[in-house]
């Protein structure tokens, strides 16, 4: 009995530092965010702040001046572009690398490199690339003979082009990340399976389509979840490139949140946006997982019918 008690004490002692950090910095703040989101806080103190129930949420959804829907729409568009442009590109690279090509590791390391560079550095670098007067983009377009394609106001200054110009560096930076995950998946497909398919006369493309891609579905699921939640959470690059401008053309929920907090001192509203972001991230993660399960089951059923 005494032995048992001392064991429990040891467990508590060993877990203590991690639990303190975890609860103090991750769990408690989520609960506090929800709490704050019901208040009309004008300062960092709850004193004098009115409890307004869902007032912040109502304002967020209906106010035209906060432009939350615009921000959400922008991040959804970024998510869409990530899933349908960035991920196919990553998958293509992963499949090509997975064919056992010479210099495979070298390519892999080069592709992954941008992932490690600070987003601030990448943002500043791309600001220079897009620079309307001396940027390398205009110089390259000039070499190709299409020099006057820059929209009025500059690449990042034009309402129509800005969101695309914010997406390109994101794509550039994270293709390598998704490629790496998919490559690990491609590599784990058993060689026997590939060889069997080849013996049956399948072409390379058929092997990829019917053997490799179905077997890396769990990784594709992870990639889709990361791409979508990553777009919902995106902050650094947009903050550096445009800070949400021009005229909210590149506004996303996180830039809106920071703006609420530190430009307008609206801590309650900032918390409301934070709560919406967490909720949406978890909701999308669950939805995407469910969608992948559905399709897996569907595929399985069809398969047995075929037999």
């Amino acid at each position: 009995m005494k032995k048992n008690k001392s064991k429990i004490l040891m467990v508590v002692l060993f877990l203590l530092p991690a639990l303190l950090l975890f609860i103090g910095v991750l769990i408690a703040p989520i609960i506090m965010s929800v709490f704050y989101s019901f208040y009309d806080m004008k300062s960092i103190s709850l004193k004098g702040a009115d409890f307004i129930w869902f007032g912040n949420y109502k304002e967020l959804f209906t106010s035209g001046s906060i432009s939350f829907w615009k921000a959400l729409g922008n991040s959804m568009l970024l998510a869409f572009l990530s899933v349908f442009l960035q991920l196919p590109l990553s998958l293509g690279l992963a499949l090509m690398l997975g064919k056992g090509i010479k210099g495979e590791r070298g390519f892999l390391s080069v592709y992954f490199m941008p992932v490690l560079i600070s987003t601030v550095v990448i943002g500043q670098l791309w600001r220079k690339i897009y620079n309307p007067d001396y940027g390398i983009l205009n110089a390259v377009l000039g070499l190709l003979g299409i020099a006057d394609k820059m929209p009025t106001g500059g690449w990042l200054g034009n309402e129509k082009s800005a969101l695309w110009c914010v997406f390109v560096p994101t794509l550039w930076q994270y293709v390598g990340y998704h490629m790496l995950l998919m490559y690990a998946g491609v590599r784990s497909v058993s060689p026997e399976l590939r060889e069997a398919a080849k013996l049956d006369g399948a072409t390379d493309a058929q092997v990829d389509w019917y053997v490799v891609i179905p077997s890396i579905k769990p990784i594709l699921r992870v990639s889709v979840i990361f791409a979508v939640t990553g777009s919902l959470k995106s902050f650094d690059l947009i903050y550096v490139l445009t800070n949400g401008g021009p005229f909210h053309a590149t506004e996303v929920p996180s830039t809106l949140m920071i703006n609420m907090l530190f430009e307008r001192n609206r801590y309650g509203m900032g918390s409301t946006i934070a709560v919406m972001m967490i909720t949406l991230c978890f909701a999308f993660a669950i939805l995407i997982s469910a969608a992948f399960k559905e399709r897996e089951n569907y595929g399985r059923k069809k398969h047995t019918e075929d037999i």
Binding site: F14, P17, A18, L21, F22, Y111, P114, V115, L116
Partner: protein, 293 residues
């Protein structure tokens, strides 16, 4: 466990499906090289303009190597922009965050994998929530709490959040490595009269060195590059970290490209050095995080 699988996936070049036809192979190479160039070109360009004067940047020599290598840009970046201070701050914050999350993770993982008690699986699942929780979710309450405690504008206001947000990943990596250490060692130590604490310090920790490297790299990358917290919690110039410092520096020198380029290179350099020497374990730690998360 996650680690093992990823290691296995790299062990590959032995199968013989090389019957890919030649034309296709050439096309694949062309595709791969094109993307490699797209990846490398902006980085190459950054290095070159960090060594150029404005005349070259502004048209005389936009894409080529610099005609005369202007190392003075680096001198300027280091002396006028307060860069050494930012660099030092980043080092302090990052090293402290790595140390704290390592100690906390090692201890927690020991309790989760080596001591048998009810509810340890639930506790593990609880910690793993941390991989999914976005850093934004806690910014307002942490900002308010730190302001009230008057520890805003201090190293601690970054060190504590950074170590907490690295913790889940650190525990995940630790678990993989600790499960590989045979349980017989613990029993032998127990028979020799070691307490749990002594077993932990004398037997387990020394055997966890490879895990420490992997966790440190992962935490380093998270902390070194973090912008949002650093931007919000630190307003004192003397305490700013590199990402915030570079932001400020670029705001000051909008026309003088060379020194900014130099600052960008200085900020990137440590990461690239670490990457050159440990690219494989960095890649593996990222895969492990994704597979479990």
């Amino acid at each position: 466990m996650a680690e093992k699988n990823t290691l296995k996936t790299y062990d590959i070049n032995q199968y013989e499906v090389q019957k890919t036809n030649k034309v296709l192979k050439v096309l694949i190479y062309i595709g791969l090289v094109i993307w490699a160039l797209i990846d490398l070109f902006p980085i190459y360009w950054m290095f070159t303009f960090s060594l150029k004067n404005n005349e070259e940047v502004y048209g005389a020599n936009v894409m080529g190597l610099p005609k005369n290598w202007l190392w003075s840009n680096y001198e300027k970046a280091l002396t006028t922009g307060n860069m050494p201070q930012y660099f030092l701050n980043s080092v302090i914050v990052t090293v402290a965050a790595i140390a704290i999350s390592l100690i906390a993770a090692l201890m927690a993982t020991y309790a989760l994998t080596r001591i048998v008690w009810k509810g340890r699986e639930m506790m593990n699942a609880f910690f793993m929530l941390g991989i999914t929780i976005p850093i934004h979710s806690s910014i307002v309450p942490i900002f308010i709490t730190l302001s009230k405690l008057k520890v805003i504008n201090s190293y601690w206001s970054l060190i504590i959040p950074y170590s907490a947000f690295s913790l889940a990943m650190a525990i995940l990596i630790c678990t993989g490595f600790m499960n590989d250490i045979p349980k017989d060692l613990d029993e032998a130590a127990y028979i020799d009269g070691c307490t749990l604490w002594q077993t932990f310090i004398k037997i387990i920790v020394p055997l966890m060195k490879p895990a420490l490297a992997t966790i440190s790299i992962y935490t380093f990358l998270q902390c070194w590059n973090e912008l949002m917290f650093a931007n919000v919690f630190i307003s004192k110039k003397a305490l700013k970290t590199l990402p915030v410092g570079i932001q400020a520096l670029s705001g000051q020198h909008t026309t003088d490209w060379g020194p900014i380029g130099a600052a960008l290179v200085i900020a990137t350099f440590p990461t690239l050095i670490v990457y050159i020497f440990m690219s494989k374990s960095i890649q593996e730690s990222f895969i492990a995080g994704a597979v479990k998360g």
